[in-house]
């Protein structure tokens, strides 16, 4: 298969040479046959005629040779594309009507894939991403429901909240300080209060929302 592709590529890349060599080769054949016919006593003109007839149509043989080399498909593709381009140039309205929806569709497809890729396909960079929770600071007297936490909050809480196996900080949705998993924080069961085992599975990671300096 590789060798055939190489052979096709060589023929296509040196197309001019390929055609010339092929023509030379076929001409050599007919000339040689004429020489032999003449040598066997056939008059020169008659020999020419006979050689050409017996060989058949040069064009057909050349076309068959090209096909044997795999060039025919290339030729047809090339001819069809040129024809299509010419036809499109003649009717720009139709060309636009065909190209614009095509471009839009490709664009929309790309966008949708980008979204699906980042939202669904690529997992969050945490173990057990489905057990992730976000932790906010709440200040009821100031009527602040959800606020970011500070570095101090983070270090105070890290490893000290039962049921949270690890913590990470993030800022503006960018991972900011992620210990993965933090070396001094253990898996959930180490934090479960011995007296009251939780009925619900514990969140394995808490993500502290934002930071305040």
């Amino acid at each position: 298969m590789l060798k055939q592709l190489r052979s096709l590529f060589q023929a296509a890349a040196g197309r001019h040479g390929f055609e010339k060599n092929m023509a030379d080769e076929l001409k050599f054949h007919v000339d040689q046959y004429v020489v032999d016919l003449v040598r066997s006593g056939v008059p020169a003109q008659e020999a020419q005629r006979r050689a050409r007839i017996e060989f058949g149509s040069f064009d057909n043989v050349r076309e068959d040779c090209r096909q044997a080399r795999g060039l025919r498909l290339l030729d047809i593709t090339w001819r069809t594309s040129r024809h299509a381009l010419r036809a499109l140039r003649h009717s720009p309205g139709f060309a636009l009507a065909a190209l614009i929806p095509l471009a839009l569709c490709i664009g929309v497809n790309l966008t949708i894939f980008a979204v699906i890729d980042s939202v669904l396909l690529r997992p969050l960079p945490f173990p057990d991403a489905d057990r992730l929770v976000t932790m906010y600071n709440t200040y009821p007297q100031a009527h602040v429901d959800r606020d970011g936490s500070s570095y101090t909050n983070y270090y105070e809480r890290r490893g000290n909240i039962a049921g949270i196996s690890g913590m990470a900080l993030f800022r503006k949705a960018q991972p900011f300080s992620v210990t993965h998993p933090p070396r001094n924080v253990c898996r959930p069961w180490k934090f479960r209060p011995a007296s009251s085992p939780p009925s619900e599975p514990l969140p394995s990671w808490a993500v502290s929302s934002g930071t305040k300096r």
């Binding site: 080769e25 076929l26 050599f28 054949h29 058949g56 043989v61 040779c65 044997a68 080399r69």
Partner: protein
């Protein structure tokens, strides 16, 4: 198979292949001239034969074909399967009523 056999004996140009096949088959087999070249191109495309431009006997530029290693292997296979087929057909045709 015949073309492979012909070029296995000695590098040949297309016309030489034609003559050689005629010669080694005692004039019994002749390839139509027009279909020889597509066959040669196909064999070369399949890497069974290789070609090189050289000088012919009468000092003209001619393309000579030789057998490649892959071609040699293929010729051996074709020969073996031809032998099997020929033996089978020969055996079948020699059968007489008593043997059935």
């Amino acid at each position: 198979m015949l073309i492979l056999k012909a070029v296995s004996l000695k590098p040949l140009h297309g016309y030489g292949v034609l003559l050689r096949i005629k010669q080694i088959s005692n004039d019994a087999l002749e390839i139509p001239q027009g279909s020889l070249y597509p066959a040669l191109y196909r064999l070369e495309h399949q890497d069974l034969i290789a070609s090189e431009w050289g000088q012919s006997d009468n000092n003209r530029r001619a393309k000579f074909y030789t057998l490649t290693t892959t071609g040699r292997k293929r010729l051996k296979q074709e020969l073996a399967s031809w032998d099997r087929l020929a033996t089978a057909i020969a055996a079948a045709m020699k059968t007489v009523p008593d043997e059935v």
